[in-house]
């Protein structure tokens, strides 16, 4: 079928423009809607007082602490594992069957729905290993969930370090490990950091994997073995049980703002990284 090329271009342009518009509209609608309903209840007091009456009144202080604790521990577990795997895959092996299997496995891990991670964490950490509903169980589960992202972004960052840096380093009599630690990793750091920050964002917003493993206690957590409720879980429970919609929206607003800030920081870092090597 032949149509006028000029007409074709015009139609395509309008269509693509429309698609973009819809995407942007949905994004801004969600942000606007949540902020409009949530921001009125968000103030200093909301952020710094404990929830009362199951969250009907009071603030969200303990859930903020719970979110930070879970995310922090998850990142502390996943980052060394992820970077180590990435270094192994890029620097210490050549492409072969085994690396393909490892990569395929980690890619599959990335595609598993988070509720399955929740179930897995519940069975393994909460019941089998008797950690109970706790920050530790939740963090371990989250760590496995974000591991593929960290591996993937670290791998890309390490691969983008110019080959001649390694060559020079070897020519000066350094070992492979010295080259990795002193030349490759410092150059790859912004890229690796981007992956870590994106993972922080995912951990903060995660609900399904956490509700089964960290529980939903509203008390202030006192140790790794305390059960704790994250902001995302708090929002889910309050909305589902109809406890307090204003407070649910308030929590959502705080969550969205946090994640926006994290994404902006990650984007900036990525930009800086790209600029440095092109």
């Amino acid at each position: 079928m032949h149509i006028n090329p000029r007409l074709e271009e015009a139609v395509v342009k309008v269509l693509l423009w429309l698609f973009t518009l819809i995407t942007v509209f949905v994004l801004f609608f969600i942000i606007f809607y949540i902020l409009k309903h949530g921001l009125p209840v968000v103030n200093y007091q909301f952020l710094t007082t404990d929830p009362m009456d199951m969250g009907k009144s009071g603030g969200i202080y303990t859930t903020i602490i719970g979110t930070i604790a879970l995310t922090l521990v998850a990142i502390l577990i996943a980052t060394p594992l992820g970077i180590g795997t990435a270094i192994y895959l890029t620097e210490y092996t050549r492409e072969n069957k085994i690396t393909k299997i490892i990569r395929f496995g980690s890619e599959c891990l990335a595609g598993i729905p988070s509720i399955i991670f929740g179930l897995f964490g519940f069975i393994l950490f909460v019941t089998k290993l008797k950690m109970g509903w706790s920050i530790l169980s939740g963090s371990l589960t989250l760590a496995f969930m974000i591991l593929p992202t960290i591996i993937r972004t670290s791998e890309e960052a390490i691969k983008s370090v110019p080959y001649n840096f390694r060559e020079v380093s070897y020519s000066l009599g350094s070992t492979q490990w010295q080259t990795v630690i002193k030349v490759v990793l410092p150059s790859a750091l912004p890229g690796i950091l981007t992956g870590v920050i994106l993972s922080v964002g995912r951990s903060i917003g995660e609900t399904a994997a956490v509700i089964f493993t960290a529980g939903s206690a509203l008390r202030l957590p006192t140790s790794l073995f305390s059960s704790s409720r994250t902001m995302a879980v708090h929002f889910y429970i309050m909305a589902r049980e109809g406890i307090s919609m204003p407070n649910a929206y308030g929590t959502a607003a705080v969550l969205i703002i946090t994640i926006l800030i994290i994404n902006i920081v990650a984007y900036r870092l990525m930009h800086k990284f790209i600029k440095k090597y092109s």
């Binding site: 060559e167 020519s171 000066l172 002193k182």
Partner: protein, 258 residues
């Protein structure tokens, strides 16, 4: 026919070298000596194997997958491809300056200190002294002494290449390999590097790959002519450029091909 050099003062010696990329033979039966405190140049058209050859001399090709070396490369009578030899130690003794200046994204100071630190020197004053000495030896000190903390990328191309030379000098190698060090530089920077190489041969043994025949004629004492993976002729530079014994060498240096 390869004319052999009767120099008794050989620092390195290449014996019956064959080199393979996968199954293809890239260098065929190379025999050549590199004399102490002299400049040995390797010339030849693109793809003749001259860069491959010089990278064999400090085992840089080990990093490339699927390469294989046959024959012997001796440094002070010791085969550097002997399985008992520590490759890190070999590269420490045989430094290298690459075609494209390639400083690390670090400060001028840290670029040079890098090699010292990884080789276990942690004494601060010693590092400072040796950085200064290396920069003086590479004729860069006067230009950068007030800006050692600046990023090395802020230097000009010629300065970056002299920084790379300083970086190689800092760990005090015995032999320095230059892989077309001036191919990306303007004539003035090139002249500086050539002058530098001329000074360096008092202390070091130098091998240089160059695309530029005049450069080989200007700075080297011995010249090897490579063609299609073979060493066609190896002799005193003067002889190669005035009275070569091989027809192919003559054709090349008179510009009939290449």
């Amino acid at each position: 026919m390869v004319s052999s050099i009767g120099g008794a003062n050989l620092r390195m010696e290449v014996k019956n070298l064959n080199f393979y990329y996968g199954r293809s033979l890239a260098l065929k039966n190379i025999n050549m000596g590199i004399e102490n405190n002299k400049v040995t140049a390797v010339i030849g058209p693109s793809g003749c194997g001259k860069s491959t050859f010089i990278r064999i001399l400090n085992r840089m090709n080990d990093i490339i997958i699927g390469t294989r070396v046959e024959g012997e490369i001796l440094l002070d009578e010791q085969n550097i491809y002997d399985p008992r030899v520590d490759v890190v130690e070999i590269r420490r003794k045989i430094g290298m300056v690459f075609q494209k200046s390639n400083p690390f994204p670090k400060s001028i100071f840290d670029n040079i200190a890098y090699g010292l630190r990884i080789n276990g020197i942690s004494n601060k004053t010693e590092i400072i002294d040796r950085v200064e000495m290396s920069l003086k030896n590479s004729a860069l000190w006067d230009e950068v002494k007030d800006r050692l903390d600046d990023n090395a990328f802020e230097l000009s191309g010629g300065q970056q290449q002299r920084l790379c030379i300083a970086r190689a000098l800092a760990i005090e190698p015995e032999v320095i390999l230059f892989d077309e060090p001036c191919s990306a530089l303007d004539p003035i920077s090139t002249a500086k590097i050539e002058e530098l190489i001329n000074q360096l041969k008092e202390k070091y043994t130098i091998a240089i790959v160059t695309h530029n025949m005049q450069q080989a004629a200007r700075i080297s004492d011995y010249t090897g002519f490579f063609l299609l993976g073979e060493l066609i002729e190896f002799d005193k530079t003067e002889k190669i450029f005035t009275n070569p014994s091989q027809k192919q060498t003559e054709d090349y240096i008179t510009g009939r091909f290449g």
